[in-house]
Amino acid sequence: MTPYEQWVALLTLMRKEIRRYTRIWSQTLLPSAITMSLYFLIFGNLIGSRIGEMGGVSYMEFVVPGLIMMAIVTNSYANVVSSFFGSKFNNSIEELLVSPTPNHIILLGFVTGGVSRGMLVAVIVTVVASLFVDLHIHSYGVVIAVVAMTSILFSLCGLINAVFANTFDDINIVPTFVLTPLTYLGGVFYSLELLPDFWASVSQANPLVYVVNAFRYGMLGVSDVSVGFAFAMIGAFTLVAYWYAAYLIRTGRRLRT
């Protein structure tokens, strides 16, 4: 395919993916706004007012970056895993596989869908958060870079999950048993400084720690880990996920017989 034709194929996939989740916005966009409002209200406002400061800022301010990042992670993952598995389930993935669309465009198309939903939800959740607390951005560059890299990483993870999933139950296993615990243990609601040394060290293996802290640095200028190291870790995880997702698409594992 010529570069122009590849661009047309990518636009087609992006249009399809974005239309898919905007058409069912009450199932894809609204739940995050409601859930995060409850988090802000209960953890930030009611409980947070009794906790006082954490990491040098009010508890409400402290949890906002983590909650926004949680929404980005879950939404970018959920979008790609459900869309790609849905295509597999109804065999419409064959429309793509029989076409000359290159594998990297297929990958990019699905990832773009996940990234756009993650970012859209981030905007919605940020607007909701601004109703509870005055938001300040410490570094726009860091915020944008972390949001982009995180949504790409978890979109790729969603695609990998979808390739291996055989049933709709399989696409819920990772979000329920892996993603949610990692998010809660990733420092969304507490500073790693509160943990005993051993558990603080264990937490270093959790990719969500880097995502949450890098984003918290971008918004508040505070972080439990070095921001440079956090970027390096997110970048490394993203490269590994891209390589593996590209390998799965190229070899047609679980897609071709």
Partner: protein, 305 residues
């Protein structure tokens, strides 16, 4: 000039050890209307799957318009349009979107795609379903939608895997007409079907596959020439006489107005008619008891077994 499709020594063994294709050789010339026939599980869909990249082959070479799929699959895919046996589109999308997406995957800009959508929906009788969700279409309409989708990038080779399954007779006839039309315009068509009269009426050449091997690959005319015996049903104007014996022919009475006659290769049907006429039997219509190709198909499969 390279043939439309060339398959050499194609083999496929699935992960469970099933050897679906055992070294298939096949050649389909440009502009042909080609039938690939075989019983269920013979390897037809696996062959098609390999050609269009949904099945990874174990060995062999496949070339589409001279392009080796191992060397440049994307280029080979551009020549191919595929109508699979099972519905494989998102039933929650509207007809137009399904076609726009497929066009986009081939790099066709939206403006051109919309023009082609007008054309093919009109030709396939789906123009009024353009904004209908695919799940609301009947089985026949869904099949026609898949044909429109396969043609949206105007391929030079169209592969149809049982395209008329579940389609009513009237719609089937209009599909035949449409397929003849695009074949006449230069598109090579490869068809698999269980309706043998469909293959006989549409196709010029044929391959029969069984247990992963090609049993025969020839023109339909040649194949039918090999038929040693045909059985005809003859209808009489008047009630038939009790003694119906005709020298040199095997005839039997089915009912008061109907005769079953067996014509061996080399026997003259006109001679039978003349002899019946001499007996005072006036034939007003006649037909084959069973499809000739079907007779040959069964006979070849029995031989192969």
């Amino acid at each position: 000039m390279s043939p439309a499709l060339e398959i050499i020594g194609l083999e496929k063994t699935y992960a469970n050890g099933l050897q679906a294709l055992k070294g298939i050789d096949l050649r389909v010339e440009n502009g042909d209307f080609f039938a690939l026939l075989g019983p269920n599980g013979a390897g037809k869909s696996t062959t098609i799957g390999v050609i269009c990249s949904l099945v990874n082959k174990s060995a062999g070479t496949v070339r589409v318009k001279g392009v080796d799929i191992d060397e440049n699959f994307p280029a080979a895919k551009r020549h191919l349009g595929v109508v699979p046996q099972e519905f494989n589109f998102n039933v929650f999308e509207i007809v137009e979107d399904i076609l726009i997406h497929q066009a986009g995957y081939y790099g066709i800009p939206l403006k051109t795609a919309l023009q082609r959508i007008d054309l093919y929906l009109e030709k396939l009788g789906l123009a009024d379903k353009r904004h209908t969700r695919a799940r609301m279409l009947s089985g026949g309409m869904k099949r026609r939608l898949m044909i429109a989708r396969a043609l949206i990038h105007e391929p030079s080779v169209l592969i149809l895997d049982e395209p008329t399954a579940g389609v009513d007779i009237e719609m089937r006839r209009s599909m035949y007409e449409f397929l003849r039309e695009i074949n006449a315009a230069g598109t090579t068509i490869i068809l698999t079907t269980h309706y043998l009269e469909e293959a006989e009426s549409l196709c010029r050449n044929i391959a029969i596959i069984n247990h992963g091997k090609i049993v025969t690959n020839t023109s339909i005319k040649n194949l039918l020439r090999e038929l040693h015996r045909e059985i005809f049903i003859l209808d009489s104007r008047e009630p038939l006489p009790q003694d119906l014996a005709v020298d040199g022919f095997t005839v039997s009475r089915k009912d008061d107005y109907c005769i079953e006659a067996q014509i061996e290769q080399g026997q003259d049907l006109a001679e039978l008619m003349a002899r019946l006429h001499n007996k005072g039997v006036s034939i007003i219509s006649m037909r084959n008891r069973e499809n000739r190709l079907e007779q040959m198909f069964v006979s070849l499969l029995e031989q192969a077994s």
